[in-house]
C-alpha cells in the first residue's frame, strides 16, 4: 500500500479565533498548513453565506492549481465545502467526499447531495448512507462504508481525563463537572434563520426550569448566530442567581469528553445523534435540524416548546447513560479512509467521468 502525503488547506471559520481556531489546533498537533484561505464575510446572513462561497471558490481555484493534489478530500455539508468540491472537480482533481449520503433536514441536504455529485469517491459513515450514495451515483465500486471519523475521536475521548471547569474558560459561575449538569449546544437552522433567536430563547427558558447547572456553548457562524448570542446574554441577566456558564468552544476531543460527563445534552447539535449514539449520551434534540438523521435510542426529539423540552430533559436525567451504538462507526474510520485513498491511488485514481473511449 503506497504512502499518502497530506496537504492541509485551512479555509473560512477554521482560521478564526471565535470558532476555536482549528488552524492553530492542527499546527499544534504537528501538521503544517499548505494554504490558508480567509473567506468568511462578516454578517452571518444568507447573502454573506452565498458570497463567501464565491470568495472561497475564487481563492481555492488558484490554490488547488498550485498544490496540484492527486485527490482532494472534502468533508460533510457546509456551503464552503461545495466550493472546495467545485474548485477540485472543475480542474479534474478527483474528489473524495466524507459523510455523504446522510439526511439531516435543512439546506445542508441539498448541499451535501450536490457535493456527492461532484465527487468521485465516497467514504460514508453508515450503511444507510452508503445505500443512498449508491442510489444517487449508481457506482457501487466507489462507495466505502468507513464509519465517521468523529467516532474515532469519541473512542479516544473515553480514555481521556475528565474536563474540569477551568478548562472550559468562558464566562459565568463555576460548574462542578464531576456532579450532574446540562450541556446546551444549539445552532441556527439556516432555513429558519429569522427565528433563531426565538428558538434559542425557548430552549434557554426550558433549561432555566431544570435545577441543574448549565454549560451553554455560543452558536456557530451561520445566519442567525448573532440573534442567538443576544439570547444567551439575555438569559444570564434575567436569571442572575442561576448557573449559566457560557463557553466559546473546546477542542473536539475535550468536547466529547464533556458529553460523557453531562447528564443531558440539549439543543440541535449533530453530536447528539452522532458521537452521542456511540458514547450513549442522553440527548434532547430540539426542533428539526437533525430531522432525517439516523439515530440511536439515546435521543428524545421535541419541538420548540418550553414544556416539552423540560419534560424530555427530566426523562433523560432519570434514565442516565445509554449503551454504546456502532451505527456511525466503531472508531477506526480514519485508518480505513487512509487505506481507501492509498488503494485508489495504487489502482490509478480516475475522476468519475464517462469517457468516449469507454464506449
Amino acid at each position: 500500500m503506497p504512502d499518502v502525503e497530506l496537504q492541509i488547506v485551512c479555509c473560512g471559520a477554521a482560521l478564526l479565533e471565535r470558532y476555536g481556531n482549528v488552524s492553530s489546533v492542527v499546527k499544534t498537533q504537528g501538521y503544517s498548513i499548505a494554504a490558508e484561505c480567509w473567506s468568511t464575510i462578516e454578517g452571518a446572513n444568507l447573502v454573506t453565506s452565498a458570497k463567501e462561497t464565491g470568495v472561497l471558490l475564487q481563492d481555492l481555484s488558484a490554490t488547488l492549481a498550485r498544490l496540484a493534489p492527486d485527490v482532494a478530500v472534502v468533508c460533510a455539508d457546509r456551503h464552503e465545502v461545495l466550493a472546495a468540491a467545485q474548485a477540485a472537480s472543475y480542474q479534474h482533481i478527483p474528489v473524495v467526499h466524507l459523510q455523504g449520503g446522510e439526511i439531516s433536514g435543512s439546506i445542508d441536504d441539498k448541499v451535501r447531495d450536490a457535493i456527492t455529485h461532484l465527487s468521485d469517491y465516497h467514504c460514508v459513515a453508515t450503511k444507510r448512507a452508503a445505500m443512498r450514495v449508491y442510489g444517487l451515483t449508481g457506482d457501487y465500486a466507489r462507495v466505502f462504508n468507513t464509519g465517521c471519523p468523529s467516532i474515532d475521536l469519541a473512542k479516544q475521548a473515553l480514555s481521556e481525563p475528565p474536563v474540569t471547569c477551568p478548562e472550559l474558560g468562558g464566562v459565568g459561575p463555576d460548574v462542578d463537572l464531576s456532579k450532574p449538569f446540562l450541556v446546551v449546544l444549539q445552532h441556527s437552522v439556516t432555513s429558519e434563520a429569522d427565528q433563531a433567536g426565538e428558538q434559542m430563547r425557548i430552549t434557554l427558558e426550558a433549561i432555566a426550569e431544570v435545577p441543574l447547572p448549565r454549560v451553554v456553548f455560543w452558536s456557530g457562524q451561520d445566519a442567525g448566530a448573532d440573534a442567538m448570542a443576544k439570547e444567551i446574554r439575555s438569559v444570564r441577566e434575567r436569571h442572575p442567581t442561576q448557573t449559566f456558564h457560557a463557553v466559546r468552544s473546546l477542542p473536539p476531543i475535550r468536547f466529547l469528553k464533556l458529553l460523557t460527563q453531562c447528564s443531558v445534552l440539549v439543543g440541535n447539535s449533530s453530536a447528539s445523534v452522532r458521537e452521542g449514539s456511540y458514547l450513549g449520551v442522553p440527548a434532547v434534540v430540539v426542533g428539526g435540524r437533525q430531522y432525517g438523521r439516523e439515530r440511536g435510542l439515546n435521543v428524545i426529539d421535541v419541538g420548540h416548546d418550553v414544556k416539552a423540552i423540560k419534560t424530555a430533559i427530566e426523562r433523560q436525567v432519570a434514565h442516565g447513560p445509554y449503551r454504546s451504538d456502532n451505527r456511525y462507526g466503531d472508531g477506526t474510520a480514519g485508518a480505513r479512509i487512509a487505506r481507501v485513498i492509498a488503494e485508489i491511488k495504487e489502482e490509478g485514481i480516475q475522476p468519475r467521468i464517462r469517457e468516449a473511449s469507454s464506449r
Copy 2:
C-alpha cells in the same frame, strides 16, 4: 393562473461579442436586462473555469439579494449555472431547473446533477430525464416533463426563410446554401481539453476529403477553444483551394434553420441529437461529448478517426433528411414551463427543504 413577471440576468459569455452577444439579442427582442454580471476570465483553461464561477457567485449573491425574485430559473449544465443555483438556494430562493436529468458524458454530468440537487422544481426535456430526476430527488410532484425550449425554436425555424451566405458573415469563400454543404460545429470536451486541438484537426481533415463546401463554426469558450481555433485557421491555409467558410455564430433560430438546409452536421454539438432529432438532420457525432445523451435515428456516432468520420458523412449524405422525432419535445415547452411557474406560484412556492414543522 397568475401572471409571471420576468427579470433577466445576463452573465458570463452571454455578454460577450464573440459568443453571439446573447444580451443584445435579448434586448433586440424587446426584453430588458435586470442585471449584467461580467465574469468570464480570459484563458479558457481549467483554472479560469473554476475561478470565474467564484467571481460569478460573488456577484450573483448580491444581485439576487437585490432582485429578490420569487423563483430563479436556471438552465442546463454549464459551471456558471451551478453558481446561479448556489446564489439562489443559499438565499432560500426556490430554483426551477430546466434540462436536468440528462446524461451527456463529461463533467457536465456532475454539474448538472449537482444543480438538480440544489433545485426545487424540475422542467425536464424527456421522459427518461424525468425518471432520472425523480430517482435523484425522490420527489415526483416537483418534476415536470415539459420538453426542451430548444425544440420550440426548432419548430419556429421550420417556417423561417432560408439562411443565405451573406447572413453567415465570417471569413472565407462564398457557399451557396441552396445546394448541398456540410456544417461543422465541434466543442472542446473539458476532460480532454489538452486534446481539443488534435480532435479538431482530425475532424477538419476528414471534412477536407468530402467534396462539399463546409461552413465551420468557431468553438465555444471552454478550455481548449484556443487550440481549436488555431486548427481552423491552419486547415484553411493547408487547403487554400477548398471552400472552408468560418463563422463566429448565428442567432439560435437562424442556426437551426441552417441545419435544415445542410446535408450533414458534423462535430459534437448537442444540436445533433437534440434539435437535430426533431428536425431530422443527418448528423455525424464525433467523440464522446454526447455520449449517454438520448438520440434518435438521425445520428451516426464515430470516434476521432479521419476515415470513420469520412465514411459516416458519406452514408448520411446518401441517406438525406430523417423523419421528425418528438423525444425532446413537440415545440410547446416554453408555454408549459411558464404554466408550471405560474401554478407553483399560485400554490405557494416552497423550497424543497424538510421542515421541522412538517414532521
Copy 3:
C-alpha cells in the same frame, strides 16, 4: 442651483451590528439605501484588509455601473474607500473626496493620498489640507475648504440632552455621567498591529490608576482588534472592584455629546483632535496614530507609557474644558459640500483627465 439626488451605498463595516450598524442608522433617519455591499472578511489582519478591498472593488464595480451616478462622493482614508475611488474613477465617474490632504501618521496617509490622486474634486477640512491637496494635484480650482462634516455633528451635539448610563448599553457597573469620568477609545495602529494588545494594556493600566469611573469603547475592525478586546476583558477581571464600563458604540452624535460630558478623552481616536478641538474636550492622545494631524490646544500627546499617560490625564482633569477652535470647520460643512456638488454639476462635471482636445 440644481437639486442633487442622493444614492447611498453601504459597504463593509457600515452593515455590521458590531460597528454600530450605520446602515440602520441611515434608514432610521429617513434615507433609503441604494445598495449594500457585504465585504468585511473576518480575521481583522493584514491579509484580510487587502483581500476585502478586492471583494469590495469587485462588487462596487457592478454596483456603480448599475447606479451610474453623476459623481461619487467618498470620504477619508480607510482602505475600503480606495476601492470605491477605483470603482468610480476606472469607470470615468468623477470622484468628490472629503477629508483629503491631511496627515495622520500611518498607512492611512498613503491610502488617503492615493485616493486624492484618483479623485477629481476635493472638499477638505482645513486650510492646511487644502494647500497640501493643491500641492499634490496642482489644480487649485478643484479644491474647496468646506470644513469637516464631523464638526457639523459636533455643533448639533451641543444642543442635545446629556447621555445617560442606560443609553450606553454594554457591560459593567453603572457610571453616573453627570459626574467626572474618563472615556477611553483606542484603535489599533495598522503598522503596529502586533503590538495593539500591549498598547491597549498600557493605556488601561494607566487608566486604572486614576480614581475616576471609566467608559471604555471596544476597538474598531482593523488588524489587532481581537487582541485589544482581550485586554479590555482582562483589565476588568484584574480590577473587579473598579468601574470599567465597556461599550460597543453610540450613534455618532451621542458619542460627541458624551465627549462634552467627560473629564478627559484618552486613547488615539481622531475625535480627540478633530471634534475635540471644536468641542474643547481635554484629550490625552496615546502613541503615534494621530501623529501629523493638526490639533488645537486641547490635546496632550504621550507615548505608550503608564506613568506618562497617568500624569497627562491628571493635568487635563485639573485644566477642565478648553475654548472652541474652528480649524476643522464651523459646523456648516454639509451645506457647503452640497453646494459644491450642485455647482460642479451645473458647470458640467469633468473628470480631471487631460483630454487630447484640450491641447
Copy 4:
C-alpha cells in the same frame, strides 16, 4: 552588496496568448514563475477594468501573504498595478515603483500617482519624473533616477539581426522589411473608449493614402479594443490590393528592432516617445494618449484627422532617422534598479510610514 532573490508573479494579460504570453517568454528566458494570477475579465470595457482589479487584488492578497517578499517591485501605470501596490502596502511589504512621476494624459496619470503614494521607493525614468515624485512624496532620499528598463532593451535591439516578414506571423500579404514600410500601433484611450473604433478608422484611412506597405498591430486589452480590431479587419477588406499586414505581437526586443527598420511609427504607443527617442525613430503620434509625456525631436504630434496624419507621415518619411536622445536612460537601468534594491535591503528596508517612535 547583498544578493537579491527574484520571485516573479505573472498576472492578467501576462498569462494570455493574445498579448504575447509574457509568462512563457519569462520561462523561456530561464526564470521560474512563483505564482500565476488569472484575472482578466473578458469584455474589455470600463466595468470589467474595475472588476478585474478586484479579482486580482483578492488573489494577490493571498499570494503575497504566502510569498512574503522583502520588497514588491511594481511597474508603470496600468490599473492592475494599483492592485499589486495595494496588496503589498496593506500588508506592510515595502513597494518599489518603477516609472512613476510621469505624465501621459489619461486616467493612467491618476493611477500612476496613486501607485506612487502607496509606494516606498521610486526608480524613475527621467530627471523630470524624479522631481515630480519628490514633489508628491516629499522624500528625496527614496527617489532614484535609474532610467527606464525599456531603454536597456532598446540598446540591446541595436545589435540584433533585422526582423524578417516570416517572423512577424499574423495575416496579410508579405512585407519586405529591408525596404521602407510603416508600423501602426494604436491603443484605445480609456477616457475615449467609445471613440476608439472611429479613431482607429481615421488612422488606417490616412495610412491607406501613403504608398508604403503597412505592418499593423492589433490593439491591447483595454476598453475599446474590440471596436479597433473590427476596423483593422474592415480596412483590409476595403483596400484588398494594398499591403496591410496585421500582427498580434512580437517579443519586445524584436518589436524594438522592427522600429529601427521602419520609415515611420504611427499611432499612440508610448514606444514613439520612449524607446523611439533613444532609437531615433521617426514617429507620428495621433491624439492625446501621450499628451504630457516628455519627448525628443523624433515625434510629430497630430490630432485625429486623416489629412494631418498623412502630411506628418510624409514629413517623417522625408526626414529619415533621428539622433539618439538619452532622456529616458542610457541602457543601464536594469543594473541600477537591482543595485537600488540591494542597497535598500542592506540598509534595512522601511515602509514610508511615519512612526510614533520617530517623533
